[in-house]
């Protein structure tokens, strides 16, 4: 007798045979196989869902950091069933601490720790590039996330923010928002190209995200939806002195973010305690920005702000009269 070593599991084979046969027939669906078992042909489209899920879960677990994380994105592009499973398996940055799909840049950062990024500035093209760090080494190696190009106008300045580092026009489908400053560079508004709740909708309906064309962001007209307001107070002591910065996010209570102090080289934004009572979120840094090189800056952020919002807030500090030079 073959010692299967299955112990209690072996009973399932005998008792559930008829049910298992039926279920597997359904799973096999349009499966068709060559008579020759070595041909290697099989219909993976009809893979039982628990098997597909296990494989894709292993892909997701194995590739937690960029650039390898791209495999997770690739698996979500194979077909509808793979996409649905992958979107179920991949958790938001808030939960997993990882950036996966492009939508990650619009989702709140991790709750448990700061997500480390860095910004590189190209002065000649007035362009800024945001990367998520791949290692602990400051600004050494990164995966590109967003780019912003400065466009000075008569009475204001716009920073056009895009998923693409080259094609950054507002008409392009990689345009995701902008930062607009007043003439003096003291007041800023962050605009999202999509209505703020569209991100929440995609979040809630992730499992059905692919199915209906109504849920595809391309259908929503790109516009300008304000999502944050930033202001800098003038420093009476001197143009290069530290200044108070106020940040109000439309989706977050006004009292949730304490006013920060922006110096020439860095600033921090900190969560305020709710109702003035100190709690676990008291004085937790939610955004910190610092100069580490001539045109290189670190940007670390966490819940409740997203990479897009954090990037826009950091861009505002470049535009002030006491910008990080």
């Amino acid at each position: 007798m073959i010692k299967l070593g299955l112990k209690s599991r072996s009973r399932r084979v005998v008792q559930d045979t008829s049910v298992a046969v039926e279920k597997s027939k359904l799973c096999m669906g349009k499966h068709s196989r060559d008579v020759d078992e070595d041909s290697g042909y099989c219909c993976w489209e009809s893979l039982p869902s628990e098997l597909l899920r296990e494989v894709l879960l292993k892909v997701e677990e194995s590739e937690s950091k960029w650039p390898a994380r791209k495999h997770v994105v690739a698996c979500a592009g194979v077909c509808k069933s793979w996409r649905e499973v992958m979107k179920e398996v991949v958790k938001t940055p808030e939960v997993s601490g990882k950036i996966t799909f492009p939508i990650s840049v619009k989702q709140p950062g991790p709750r448990e720790s700061l997500l480390q990024c860095f910004i590189k500035r190209n002065r000649s093209t007035q362009t800024y590039y945001l990367f998520v760090s791949l290692s602990q080494a400051l600004a050494d190696d990164g995966k590109f996330l967003l780019a912003a190009r400065k466009c000075r106008r008569t009475t204001c300045t716009d920073y056009i923010i895009s998923l693409h580092g080259v094609d950054m026009s507002k008409g392009s489908d990689t345009y995701i928002g902008k930062l607009r400053s007043n003439f003096l560079g003291t007041k800023f508004i962050v605009y999202d190209a999509l209505p703020p709740h569209s991100g929440a909708k995609m979040e809630k309906s992730r499992s059905t995200c692919v199915v209906g064309s109504k849920q595809i962001p391309a259908k929503v007209p790109a516009g300008n939806y304000p999502v944050a307001h930033i202001s800098y107070e003038l420093n009476v002591l001197g143009a290069r002195g530290p200044r108070r910065m106020h940040c109000v996010m439309d989706a977050i209570p006004a009292s949730a973010i304490k006013p920060g102090v922006a110096s020439v080289k860095n600033f921090q934004l900190v969560a305020s305690p709710e109702n003035g009572v100190a709690g676990p979120e008291h004085d937790k840094v939610i955004l910190q920005f610092g100069k580490v090189g001539k045109d290189v800056f670190t940007m670390d952020y966490r819940y409740p702000i997203s990479a897009f919002q954090a990037f826009a807030i950091c861009l505002s500090s470049f535009d002030t009269k006491i910008a990080c030079e």
Binding site: G5, T17, V21, W44, K58, V78
Partner: protein, 117 residues
């Protein structure tokens, strides 16, 4: 006698080989790991498919996880087109869905192997 209508003879033989090794009283964890590596090495996609289905059907957790990991490893650094071609999957996305996926594709294309095996 226990009928196993969904598993062909060749796959069952492979499963039994695996189980015989993993139920040996004097086999160390290291020996089992080495066996698994050699056992699964070079298995073709179709064979892996059958082994995964058999392990799932027979509820053999260890084999199921090993085979799924092997399938996952085999997809590393391969493009979407390679996966579709190798696993005989037809994409049924609408043109609107393809637009969204193309945006994500940019994040998946960086440094991928060529489609040739």
């Amino acid at each position: 006698m226990i009928p196993l209508p969904l598993i062909d003879g060749r796959t069952l033989a492979r499963v039994i080989t695996y189980l015989n090794k993993h139920t040996e009283d004097d086999a160390s964890d290291e020996a089992k790991r080495k066996f698994d590596e050699e056992f699964l090495y070079g298995m073709e996609v179709g064979v892996l498919y059958d082994a995964a289905l058999a392990a799932n059907y027979l509820d053999i957790g260890g084999l199921f996880h090993e085979v799924c990991q092997r399938i996952a490893d085999g997809m590393m650094n391969k493009s979407v087109e390679w996966v579709r071609k190798t696993f005989h999957i037809e994409s049924e996305f609408t043109s609107e869905e393809e637009v969204q996926i193309k945006k994500e594709y940019a994040w998946a294309w960086e440094g991928v192997d060529s489609n040739a095996d």
